[in-house]
């Protein structure tokens, strides 16, 4: 692993916000209140994101707990003259499929089910393997993290669908759409999983215990 010079070993820190390369170590001029500050943009400098494991676990687990009611509870009610129909995320996907839009059904299924599940599983795997300092499949794990970060926010899709239908379908007694609590839990899940992947530090993947030298 020593083929690649690492910033932490060379006494360098890259600013996470502006990308400036800074020298770290004793005798720093840019100490402010005990922690180092980027001389260019003023953001706090960290060799690794602070408390990354604890924070990411906390956000991920909270996100997962909220994902359960998001799936179990209905997210949307469609009411017409003689019929009230409560939709969950899954029943919405099934309806799209049955009503002849299998392609969109696949997109919604991916955004609402596959992506969140992939996030929980991937982030869990990344956290566990990095905490153990494992050198298993590092390039693949690094790639997985970048994928999770890239696609995460697309999960908000179903939330916007419910919001738009609520605003559109307002025909009094004839036809009405209302949001139900599931959609709130789902929106919060997406925010929490995004925060979780942001608070994870991908450099931890490469911080093996036995590869320091």
């Amino acid at each position: 692993m020593s083929a690649f010079p690492r910033a932490a070993e060379l006494g360098l820190i890259g600013c996470h916000v502006c990308g400036l390369t800074c020298r770290s170590g004793p005798g720093d001029e840019y100490l402010e209140g005990g922690h180092m500050v980027c001389p260019r943009c003023g953001s706090a400098l960290h060799r690794r994101k602070p408390n990354s494991f604890v924070r990411t676990w906390a956000l991920l687990i909270t996100g997962f707990l909220l994902y359960i009611p998001a799936n179990v509870l209905p997210i949307m009610r469609t009411a017409s003259l003689n019929d009230i129909d409560d939709n969950t995320i899954i029943s919405g996907v099934v309806e799209l499929w049955v009503k002849g839009s299998p392609d969109l059904a696949v997109i919604v299924f991916t955004a609402s089910i596959v992506v969140p599940m992939l996030k929980f599983l991937s982030m869990g795997t990344l956290l566990l393997s990095s905490q153990r300092g494992s050198d298993w499949a590092r390039p693949q794990r690094a790639k997985l993290y970048r994928l999770v970060e890239f696609i995460g926010y697309w999960s908000m899709l179903d939330v916007f669908v419910v919001a738009l239908l609520t605003a559109l379908v307002r025909f009094g007694l004839l036809s009405l759409v209302e949001p139900l609590p599931g959609v709130i839990f789902f929106g919060l899940t997406v925010v929490l999983t995004m925060l979780a992947s942001m608070s994870f530090d991908p450099r931890l993947i490469w911080d093996g215990r036995d590869t320091d030298d």
Partner: protein, 205 residues
């Protein structure tokens, strides 16, 4: 000076590997040899082109917000909505969390991003740093991941298809404005805004 020769060293944010920075050719993307993450890519658009894109995006954004997005028809009754109509409807229907999420990710943050960028680029044309440059660059960095207009466009498409089963659906100009906005966002996805640090000088002459 405590900075380690800024501009000559580059640190991979994904694995902490240090590289010597070099000038990239047109279309070239520098990748980390260790973790394969993208380090830097050649920036084909100059400050003027970026400013033109941001101004276009602002105009399109205003239209996307003013014009109705979709109209539904049922037995001769019609019901349409704008983005703000949607945000207000969610608030009134006891889904304030969703209402705030939509307002932030589809309106306030995209607007902030465009205004800040326009402001910074305007001054950057002369190689100058706009008033508040440092603070605004930090704001841009934090706002970035929370703008979701492109997700909303796909959401609108799904909503139209769902509504199509029961209603007459008319796509309104707003949806086209949103589609155009998505296109602009896609062009912007490859733009590294950090280049503004290098393109501008600290003290305007």
């Amino acid at each position: 000076m405590s900075t380690a020769s800024p501009g000559t060293l580059l640190i991979c944010e994904h694995c902490d590997t240090v590289y010597r920075r070099r000038t990239l050719e047109r279309g070239e993307v520098a990748r980390c040899a260790c973790c394969l993450a993208e380090l830097e890519r050649h920036q084909p658009l100059g400050v003027n082109a970026l400013l033109a894109l941001v101004l276009t995006a602002m105009i399109v954004f205003v239209q996307a917000n003013m014009w109705p997005i979709v109209t539904l028809g049922l037995n001769g009754q019609y019901s349409g909505t704008t983005l703000w109509g949607m945000i207000i409807a969610m608030w009134q229907q006891q889904a304030q969390v969703v209402s705030v999420l939509a307002a932030v990710t589809l309106f306030f943050f995209p607007l902030t991003k465009m205004l800040v960028l326009g402001w910074l680029l305007w001054f950057a044309r002369a190689g100058r740093r706009a008033p508040g440059f440092v603070r605004l660059m930090v704001v841009l960095h934090h706002v970035g991941p929370w703008t979701m207009s492109e997700v909303f466009v796909l959401g609108a498409l799904v909503a139209i298809v769902k509504a199509h089963t029961y209603f007459d659906v008319v796509a309104d100009p707003g949806i086209y404005a949103y589609a155009a906005l998505t296109l602009l966002i896609t062009i912007f996805a490859g733009v590294d805004l950090r280049q503004l640090w290098d393109l501008t000088r600290e003290d305007p002459a």
